[in-house]
């Protein structure tokens, strides 16, 4: 093998990579926040006991979890525009990512809610909490605490998955990489740099979620899983 590695040309494009990484972060944060809201609502809907609601939520989750993100992104971007509803690539990407992560979050949150002990609910009822209060204080927050590690992993997977949005011309980190490699003809070096960038992003995200966890879950007792 007589290949000479040359990172200098690739590293000249550093500002571009930074821009791409920033967009990746933005995409991930927006999709995480909105996906978490949708997922939690969906998990509540699935446990609601109202047949049509739980069926609809179940259908949504199964449909999304059994089809690839790439196809979902294509459907949102090309599909919507073909039926006359033109959405910019950026919005299409966010919509697809939110729909996608919402389904996964829903399953995780449902598992968390299912793990709340029945005695807790009976106690809450005895304290005359209404249904909304029970959900917020007794089910949702402890459930979140319990599945927090799983949620963190899922959101990091989402951040990595956002690389797929480069396929509909969203200028995030992977799209920048594709552009730089076609400009510099240094494809392997480019992707090594970007791989390192993603690893740093994943690490930062893990750190961020850990800090958030310390901030939000102030009770330091051990639940089912370690933080």
């Amino acid at each position: 093998m007589s290949y000479q590695f040359d990172f200098s040309r690739v590293l000249q494009e550093f500002p571009l990579f930074l821009q791409g990484a920033w967009l990746t972060i933005q995409l991930s944060l927006v999709a995480t926040a909105m996906g978490f809201a949708i997922g939690s609502l969906c998990a509540i809907g699935r446990r609601s006991g109202v047949k049509p609601v739980s069926l609809a939520c179940g259908l949504y989750v199964e449909l999304i979890r059994n089809t690839p993100l790439l196809v979902q992104i294509f459907l949102v971007y090309f599909g919507l525009s073909s039926i006359g509803w033109k959405v910019p690539a950026m919005y299409a990407a966010v919509i697809a990512l939110v729909i996608n992560v919402g389904a996964y979050t829903s399953e995780i949150m449902r598992a968390g809610m299912d793990s709340i002990h029945r005695g807790q609910l009976e106690a809450a009822e005895c304290l005359a909490l209404n249904r909304a209060q029970v959900y917020w204080h007794v089910i949702l927050r402890p459930a979140m605490e319990r599945v927090y590690p799983a949620l963190t992993s899922q959101f990091i997977l989402l951040m990595l998955g956002s690389s797929i949005t480069s396929q509909i011309s969203v200028e995030e980190l992977t799209a920048v990489a594709n552009r730089v490699q076609s400009d510099t003809y240094r494809s392997f070096e480019t992707y090594i740099v970007v791989a390192a960038a993603y690893m740093i992003l994943a690490l930062l995200m893990r750190l961020g979620f850990w800090l958030l966890g310390q901030l939000v879950f102030t009770r330091k007792r051990r639940l089912g899983t370690t933080m």
Partner: protein, 222 residues
């Protein structure tokens, strides 16, 4: 001239689906073998082996599969091998699957009760014997549901091979769409095909999981 969706397009898509299955199989078998090695290294008594396996898993799990694909595709070609898209995608998928399955299986090995290890040790079994005769058979039972569940991920993620030019189901969908330009219809059909591949696996995994959960508290509101 534009044609509408016809039987030839459907045939082309089905052909793509066969390649999706083939790539999934390659990824599962290759990734399974490598993943097993990773899992064993992760629980190795030798710290250096354990650490390097951890580093490998962290490395692969921190990189998007898409970037892995690009790296194998371009990286192996500069090493002097001209690889077909299938081989490049197969290698990338194998690396990806090995890291995730390795981590899943490590969890399953560690989930086998501590007392089983101790009992095996008391019977003077060597480490290999302990693994082979006591731990792995029990870990296998725990590992089946998550492994089947991960197969769904494998099938779905083969769609990324389309980006390095391998004509599987997603790529076949793009090709058909480029010729008839009915993205909504085409991608719905493609999604349906993926669903048909993945849903049985998902359902199977859920059923296996339930079977393992006998004796555990029933979920609330059920």
């Amino acid at each position: 001239m534009q044609t509408s969706f016809n039987i030839h397009h459907l045939y082309f898509l089905l052909n793509g689906m066969a390649w999706t299955l083939a790539l999934s199989l390659i990824a599962f078998i290759g990734g399974g073998i490598a993943g097993f090695a990773v899992a064993l290294c992760r629980v190795s008594p030798v710290a250096a082996v354990r650490w390097s396996a951890t580093a490998y898993v962290q490395l692969v799990q921190g990189i998007p599969l898409l970037i892995l694909m690009f790296m194998t595709y371009f990286g192996l070609s500069i090493a002097g091998w001209t690889l077909s898209a299938l081989v490049a995608a197969g290698i990338a998928m194998t690396i990806y699957v090995s890291a995730y399955l390795g981590e899943i299986w490590r969890g399953c090995i560690e989930a086998v009760a501590r007392t089983q290890w101790e009992a095996a040790e008391c019977l003077a079994l060597s480490r290999t014997q302990r693994m082979r005769l006591v731990i792995l058979p029990q870990a296998l039972r725990i590992a089946t549901p998550p492994t089947v569940g991960f197969m769904v991920q494998i099938v779905k993620n083969t769609s990324l091979a389309s980006i390095v030019g391998f004509v599987e189901l997603a790529r076949a969908g793009q090709v058909v769409n480029n010729s008839i330009f009915q993205p909504f219809l085409v991608y719905i059909i493609v999604a349906t095909f993926y669903f048909a591949l993945c849903y049985p696996l998902s359902a199977w995994s859920t059923r296996l999981e339930r079977r393992l959960q006998v004796g555990q508290p029933a979920p609330l509101f059920a």
